[in-house]
């Protein structure tokens, strides 16, 4: 296990200065997510127009992995269609968990920085919390998602 593989520069940077952080007051979709084990909590806000994500922001608190993952996610989702977002979630999920993942690096872009999480099973939930939350927002689920 190499720690540098987990805490890559991109991750440290996005934790320190999260992108798209804060409220989105006129959001038409939003959802909350909790990771009770470590106390992480995120709120993800979306604006969707013609089936495309036009804006996405998040706020909350959590470890470096969950904040950086959420930050990277928001960068990635802007401009994506709802269907593409759902598909990307599946790919991110298998990148974080599968034994021998075939990571479509081109498509993943900076999200690939999170692949180091795979070696740390207790941290997978940190990285995936924002994704579960965004799917809940798309589904317009009222109850907060929980990783437990």
């Amino acid at each position: 296990m190499d720690l540098n593989d987990l805490y890559r520069d991109v991750i440290v940077d996005h934790n320190k200065s999260p992108r798209n952080f804060g409220d989105l007051t006129d959001a038409d979709h939003s959802a909350q997510g909790f990771n009770p084990l470590c106390g992480d909590e995120l709120t993800v806000y979306l604006n969707i127009k013609d089936d495309q994500i036009t804006d996405v922001r998040f706020k909350g608190q959590g470890c470096a992995i969950s904040i950086a993952s959420a930050s990277l996610m928001t960068e990635k989702l802007k401009g994506l269609s709802v269907e593409d977002t759902r598909q990307l979630f599946g790919k991110v999920h298998s990148m974080l968990t599968a034994d021998a993942p075939d990571i479509p690096v081109d498509e993943m872009g900076k999200l690939a920085a999170l692949q180091g999480v795979r070696a740390y099973p207790s941290r997978v939930k940190c990285a995936s919390l924002c994704w579960h939350t965004v799917i809940a927002a798309l589904d317009k689920r009222a109850t907060p998602v929980s990783t437990e």
């Binding site: 296990m1 720690l3 987990l6 805490y7 440290v12 934790n15 320190k16 084990l37 470590c38 106390g39 992480d40 909590e41 608190q61 959590g62 470890c63 470096a64 992995i65 740390y120 207790s122 941290r123 940190c126």
Partner: protein, 420 residues
Amino acid sequence: MSSTATEIAASEHSEAPDFGRLRADFPTLNQRVNGHPLCYLDNAATTQKPESVISAVANYYRKNNANVHRGVHTLSERATADYEGAREKLRQFIGAESTREIVFTRGTTEAINLVAQAYLRPLVSSGDEVLITGLEHHSNIVPWQMVCEQTGASLKVAALDENGEVRLDEFHRLLSDKTRFVAVSHVSNALGTVNPVGEMIEAAKTRGVPILLDGAQALPHMHVDVRDLDCDFYALSSHKMFGPTGIGALYGKASLLEAMPPYQGGGDMISMVSFEETRYNDLPYKFEAGTPNIAGAIGLGAAIDYLNAIGMTQILNHEKAMVAAALDGLSTIPGLRLIGRPRERAGAISFVIDGIHPHDIGTIVDADGVAIRTGHHCAMPVMQHFGLPATARASFAFYNNEADIERLLRALEHCRNVFA
């Protein structure tokens, strides 16, 4: 093997034991983790087991495996003698008057649930109150909430101050004519605070209110005498005091236990069963339905032998010095903030570091072979009191030493570098 403890037993009361050598009695401590020798500082979650405990458990399964209190055959008699022998060891260890007052349970959690359901639930109704403190582990909160939900009684909580100590003025104020029961931790797992249980017990006694102590975090660190304390119930877990998991005990004053209905029904807890009538067994068996954790109890007995051989006073003194050194060392780490500064502390130190989430601290120090706990420590209300989602917690046992503290400090420097 266990010879070290035996040798120490021989020299007991003469000079301080060689704590450095005791470490060799613990096989798990002798391994590398992520390329580094294991530095185990998560003793409040569970302690490691000495070889003598491991072999006592193995010996039961290898040589004496039989059910207890059942057969007349030789193995059953051996198993019964060892199981009951462990009860007697525990009785002596905590200073109970009789083995009738020692009920084996799965651990602290089950002991507290037993008291909540079998003692308190039949006694309370709407308008009655149960008093706990803001320092409690979830297992000393939820069982009382359940009784309150079932009966209409209400739960009162004596708040903490900024040092992580229970506000005694609040405790006294909330202890009222309506209070039917008091449950407090002896030592906090989240902050290491030692509660002034003497004063709390006396206050409860004065009002004639029974009191339970959650002793899970006290027994590994200090001598406990339930008759000196004069508490009504005392709950404990074997795995926190160097014994096996899945076993623990409830101490209860015989007069209270006698008046209580059984907790669970089944074998062993009866003296006679017909379809018309069942007569319950005597104490403590009335509360031990079903085949118990025989190997666990025997292992707990071996852990108690081990602790007695060292001496709890020696352990207390050794740990006091170690925890003081750890606090000094931690105070040199830039950006580190201690969470809870109790006047009396045992075992645990909680802290946070500016700009680094506790979860990341846990992962990074683990890469250096240092095991600490991060999170809410099953004490979410304590975290809420300090306005934190989580803390990092280093918790000590007698087998830890200065080198472990040094390792922790270096690993925390490493954390700061990762996020520099």
